[in-house]
Structure formats: C-alpha cells, structure tokens
C-alpha cells in the first residue's frame, strides 16, 4: 500500500456518533449579560453567594481578552450568539436507570455505553450529564454509606454549600484565564465529589458528558476533593453528536488532594472533530488543575481523539512536601483537527516529583502540539521531573510540534526531557499484512502499541473503550 493510499484511508473515517436525541429542552435565548447570569442562577435555585460569585467572575471576564498564544487557528466564537443554558425539561430525579427517558438510553446504547450493563458488570457509578443537567445518578446510596458525596454540581450547591464554598475557585481562580472566567460566570452543571478522611473509594466514579443541543455551549464544572488519606479514581468520558456549526466547550476541573490523599483522573474525549473538510466540530477550551498537599498524589490520564480545536493542559500544583504529579496523555488529530495540549507541573514543596508521558498522533492535515511547563520554585529542594514527549506522524500533510518550557529556580532540581518523532511506516504495515492482519487492524495495533504506556494507566474497562476510540478515529473504511 502506498503512502498516499494509506493517507486517503486514514483520512476517510467518519464520525460514528453523529446523531441527536430528541428530548424536549429548556433553552434560554442567546447572549450574555448580567441578567442572563442571574437567570441561570435563578433557574438553578442557587443561594445568593453563588450568584454573586458568578457575577464577579463575569465582570472579570468582560475585562479579559481571548488568548492567542496556542498553536491553533480558528474563528473566534461570538459570545453573544451562544445560549448559555440548556436543560432537558424532564427534571425528575431517578432512583434507578430504568426511569430514565428511553430515547436517552437509546443514545447511550448507540455509544456502546449500556448503563445497566455497566452497573451490573463493572460496579461503576455513573453520573450522566446530558447537556447541562445531570439526569441519572446511581450507586449513590452505596457511596453514601461511606460518606462519599458524588452528585451533580447543582445538587452539591444545594446540599453541601459549605464544601462547595470552601473549595470552589481555590485551584482555578475565577480570573485564571479567559475561558475559566467565562465558565465561572455561566457554568450550568457538572460533577462534585468528596471523599472523606481515610476513605478509599471502592469503585471508579464515572461521568459521561455529552453536548446535545445545537448551538448550546457547554460549561461544565467539576470539583473533586479528596480529604486526608483518601483515594479516588475518577473517570470522565465524552462524546458529542454531529453538528455543522462549531460548538464551544469551556470546562473547568478542580482537584484538591489533601495530605496523603490520591486522585486518579482519567478522561476519554471523543467530541465531534468536524468533517473531512474541517467544517464543524467542537471547540474544547478546558482548564484542568489539581492541588497536592503533603504526600499527596494526582495523576491525570487523558486520551483525546475528538474536537476540532483543543486547548487543554491538565496541571498539578505540587504544594506539599513529597507530593507527586503525573500526566499521561494520548492526543490524536486527524483531518483538520488542531490540538494544543500538555501539562504544567509546578513544584513548590520539597522532594516533589512529577512525570510527564505525552504521545501525540497526527494524521490528515491536522496540527498537534505538546506544550508543557515544568517549573521548579526556589523552595522546592530536590524536586524531580521526567518528561517524555513522543510524536507519531501519518502521512506528510500533518504537523507535530513540541513546546517544552522548563523554569528552574533551585539548583538541586533534576529535570529530564526526552522526545522522539516517528512515522508509521509502510514496512510496518506490510509486515502485519503479510501475517494476515489487514491494514485497518494493523494501524490500530501499531497505534495501540505506541500508546501502551498511557493506556496502561487507564482502568481496565476504560482502556478497552480508549483502544476502540483510537481505532475509530484513525481508521478508514477499506476500499
């Protein structure tokens, strides 16, 4: 198979999740101003401190400008043309999955996510976010017995205001960046999780996000607090239906790991990347950051295959002594997708350690960039970092870039950086073909091998899904 044919093949894959669910939705008119923010807060029946917090964020946002330092180019969204709130009208709370709108369940089936099956087979508690309101929460009772809180952000504001108030904005301040400020002003829902002292969460906590209304931006907010000595593994999986106009997604995720706590946060993101000609697709501008206190550990694992434009840097602030930050990433771009992603490891405390493993895969006419910052502050004695950034190119029309920033203000630091760039060769494909493995399967095999170090970090059931997604986003239908 020639390079050109191979290229044609991988660029001809179609988005398999392009369908919409017809559920009555409650959408407010487009545009943003203080009244809209008050209306969102009112619709969500929020206390006044929350309304004021949002308004403060909004006022800060109006004074900010959209960042343009990332290696991406796109038409900037018109923020007055976006509707900032969309909730399915059916507002019932569900005790069991069977009560959920059958059409919605059908949507999940198309995605290959059977909630019932998940419940039965994997013991995963799933808090499903369709558009902006959580419609199903399971396993809550079981988690409740351990004192674990896992609910929608809206519910947390109502039921646990003291926890929300204490931690919201402590890791990602309102004015942190343009999109974080926008999110702080207009976020409609998301997930909240609190693990009490010394509790090891016995199951993976999982949320499936999904953008559903045409023209509705999604502003999710997630806050995970792991109290002293606790442990939680949190999974976030995303798919969005096919749309022609660009959809804006600007989420904020804050993780707080108190002394001796550990948080594993895994993401599989498969939003609509736009069609073969670069039309449509999701804009994904996300701020994800975790704070580690003494002896704490935060591990980010992400498999990014979707979105037209991605701008995302899950980061760790290693504040406490001996704290550990990890970042494992696979980012795939195809067709006209653009991704600028990486991490920031900020070493503040003594003996802090960080590891960065980034695997980029570029195909079609896409642009993939790794952008990472390792900053060792003056008081971070004996800090250590290891970074490995690999790129895999398919064809000769894509671009892969690495922007590593290293700032060291303490002489005892040890920082290592390794980078490689390789291509899937015709020789590799032919070798597989000769053993009876077709080209599609061969590409999946080679790509999965290349990503193994990252995929190994994912919980088992998620790793299987991620492998499938990698295959879907890179394979074309043969001949």
């Amino acid at each position: 198979m020639s390079e050109d044919e191979l290229l044609e093949e991988v660029t001809s894959s179609e988005y398999k999740y392009g369908f919409t669910t017809n559920i009555d939705a409650d959408t407010i008119p487009v545009g943003i101003n203080e009244d809209v923010i008050r209306l969102i807060s009112l619709k969500k029946n929020e206390p006044e401190w929350m309304t004021e917090w949002r308004l403060d964020a909004y006022r800060k946002w109006t004074k900010m400008t959209e960042p343009d330092w990332a290696h991406v180019s796109y038409e900037k969204p018109d923020f007055q043309k976006i509707s900032y709130y969309s909730a399915p009208k059916q507002k019932k709370q569900y005790e069991s999955i069977e009560d959920v709108d059958p059409e919605l369940l059908d949507t999940f089936k198309k995605l290959g996510i059977s909630l019932e099956e998940q419940k039965r087979l994997t013991g995963v508690a799933v808090d499903v976010v369709v558009d902006s309101v959580s419609v199903a929460t399971s396993f809550k009772k079981k988690l409740g017995e351990l004192g674990i809180i896992f609910c929608s952000f809206g519910e947390a504001i109502q039921e646990h205001p003291e926890l929300v108030k204490k931690y919201i904005g402590t890791v990602v301040p309102k004015q942190d960046n343009f999109y974080a400020a926008l999110n702080s002003a207009v976020f409609t829902d998301g997930s909240f999780c609190y693990i009490p002292k010394g509790v090891k969460c016995p199951m993976e906590l999982s949320t499936y996000f999904r953008i559903n209304q045409a023209g509705t931006g999604q502003f999710e907010r997630t806050l995970v607090v792991a109290d002293k000595g606790s442990y939680v593994s949190y999974l976030e999986g995303c798919t969005a239906p096919q749309r022609d106009e660009n959809q804006l997604h600007a989420a904020v995720v804050e993780l707080v790991a108190l002394d001796d706590a550990e948080i594993k946060y895994s993401t599989v993101q498969n939003w609509y990347p736009g069609d073969k000609n670069g039309k449509g697709g999701v804009f994904n501008f996300v701020t994800k950051r975790g704070l580690c206190e003494k002896n704490a550990k935060i591990s980010w694992t992400q498999v990014e295959t979707g979105s037209a434009v991605t701008w995302k840097y899950p980061s760790c602030i290693l504040k406490g002594e001996n704290s550990i930050g990890e970042f494992y990433s696979v980012a795939v771009t195809n067709n006209y997708q653009q991704a600028d992603t990486g991490t920031k490891m900020i070493h503040l405390g003594k003996n802090t350690k960080s590891t960065i493993i980034s695997k980029g895969i570029c195909a079609g006419k896409s642009e993939g960039s790794y952008r990472g910052l390792v900053r060792i502050m003056p008081r971070a004695e004996n800090a250590r970092n290891f970074s490995q950034c690999d790129s895999l190119l398919m064809g000769d029309k894509c671009g892969s870039h690495t922007f590593p920033y290293i700032e060291i203000k303490n002489k005892t630091a040890k920082v290592e950086h390794e980078a490689t760039t390789s291509k899937i060769g015709e020789d590799q494909i032919f070798y597989c073909n000769q053993r009876g493995i077709g080209t599609e399967e061969a590409i999946a095999l080679i790509v999965n091998g290349y990503c193994k170090d990252v995929l190994n970090q994912l919980p088992m059931e998620f790793a299987v899904e991620a492998q499938k997604l990698l295959a879907i986003s890179l394979e074309g239908s043969v001949g």
Binding site: F430, Q434, G436, I437, T439, E441
Partner: protein
C-alpha cells in the same frame, strides 16, 4: 501448488525480474541462490504482495488461484508466509499480542471463531520448546531490541504458529551463529509435512546443510539461469558464482 510463469517485475521503471518460471509442489523444498542484486528478495516480496513492485507480465498461481489479484493479507490467509530478511520493530506490541492478532485475523477470514486463549497459549509453549526459546520472549515488544538471531528465531516461531502451506525463508541464515542456525533449521525441518512446501532464499550453502533442498535454482540478473539438485549448491560453494554468470552471459 505454486506456479510462476514468465514473471517480469520492475521497480521505478527498472527491470528486476526478467521472466521467472518456477513450479513448487507440496512437500518440496526449493532453494533459490544467487549473487547479490540478482532479484532474490524481489521475488519473495512479489509473491508476498509488496506493492511498490510493478508486475509487467506473467502470472503467479497458488493452488489454482491468481495470487497477483489478492491483497497481501489475503495471500497470508491462503497460507503464504514470508520470513523477512529484516524483520521490523513494532514498539509496544508484544509478541503474544501480535501472534494472537495474526492467528485470529486469519481465522476470521476463514469464518472461524477466535482461538481460545488457553489453546493459543498451549500452542505457543509447544512451538517455543521446538525453537528452544525463552518464555519471557512472549511479553517483549515485537522485534524491539532483539538481536539478529532473536529476530530470525521469532520469524520461524511465527511460522510455526501460523502453519503456512508455503513458507518463504528470505536470508533466514544471515545474522545467525552456528548454534542458532542449527536450532532454526531443526525447527523448519520439524515443521515439514507432505502437504506444505518451503522456498529457501540464501546466499550461502551453509543453511542448506541443515535444510536439505530437493531443488536448487540459481537466480542471476533477473532470471533462473540454472536449476539442479542439492549438489548444485555444493558446486556453487566450491566454485563461486562466476562460472554460472559466464555461462549465462554467453547465452545472451
């Protein structure tokens, strides 16, 4: 089984094979020898289905099927196996995973279910013993960091697992020390049946001491210029290729 008729092949406009005729029957071992650049590896690549070669004329039939109309993986499914001269590395893909995928893809093509894991493992163990391979081999990334000898042994291991009808061993002896050569050759011999056939492509006679051919062909300048029994290999070892070259050149 394999029937090659007047095969003419070029790459980027340069003629490499200039009319090859070869017939291989079940149970036979054919050795193809010849000096560097004579087209030996091109022949094996074309049989396996490498696409950068242009077949200008002629035909290759395999069990009465036109091989040239099939994709490389389809040829593999029909039972053609090529032991590569330079096996390629596939980082992160374990030997086990690779073989499992290869076997199950072939089974799928034949309408069979995937081989049960326990059966697969048993077969792997058995074939590894045959080739005196270490267990930890299975979990290593395919060919990554393998020595030359390990790569070749891994090729024959895959051949043992896939049980092809026609195996083409392209310079399998290169990079092997004498002990490894003996083990690999013993493996190949034990895998011989009256139903399958082997084509051994080699530069030297050495391998043919262990894998004894029924026929020896000398490829020179894109043509088979001489065929004979196993004695021909010894004669070549003794006298070199020059006399065959002269004979061939005189004919032109």
């Amino acid at each position: 089984m394999l029937n090659i008729k007047d095969l003419k092949v070029s790459i980027e406009g340069k003629s490499i094979l200039k009319g090859i005729n070869l017939e291989v029957k079940p149970g036979e071992v054919h050795a193809i020898m010849g000096p560097n650049g004579s087209g030996k590896s091109t022949l094996s690549s074309v049989i396996a289905g490498r696409e950068e070669y242009e077949v200008e004329d002629g035909s290759i039939n395999f069990n009465n099927e036109d091989l040239l109309s099939l994709d490389p993986e389809e040829r593999a499914h029909r039972g053609i196996f090529l032991s590569f001269q330079y096996p390629i590395e596939i980082p992160g893909v374990s030997v086990t995973n690779f073989i499992k995928t290869a076997i199950n893809e072939s089974r799928k093509a034949q309408g069979l279910d995937a081989m049960p894991a326990s059966k697969m493992l048993k077969k792997m163990r058995e074939k590894m013993r045959l080739l005196e391979m270490d267990q930890n081999f299975l979990s290593r990334s395919l060919n990554e960091g393998f020595s030359g000898g390990e790569k070749k042994r891994n090729e024959i291991f895959q051949m043992a697992m896939l049980e092809p009808k026609l195996a083409i061993l392209d310079e399998t002896d290169s990079g092997l020390d004498i002990d490894a050569l003996r083990i690999v050759a013993n493996g190949v011999n034990k895998l011989r049946t009256p139903e399958n056939a082997t084509i051994v492509i080699t530069h030297y006679q050495r391998l043919l001491d262990y894998i004894v051919p029924d026929f020896v062909h000398v490829l020179y300048n894109g043509k088979i210029v001489k065929s004979g029994g196993k004695d021909l290999a010894l004669e070549l070892e003794d006298k070199g290729y020059d006399w065959v070259k002269k004979e061939a050149d005189n004919l032109v």
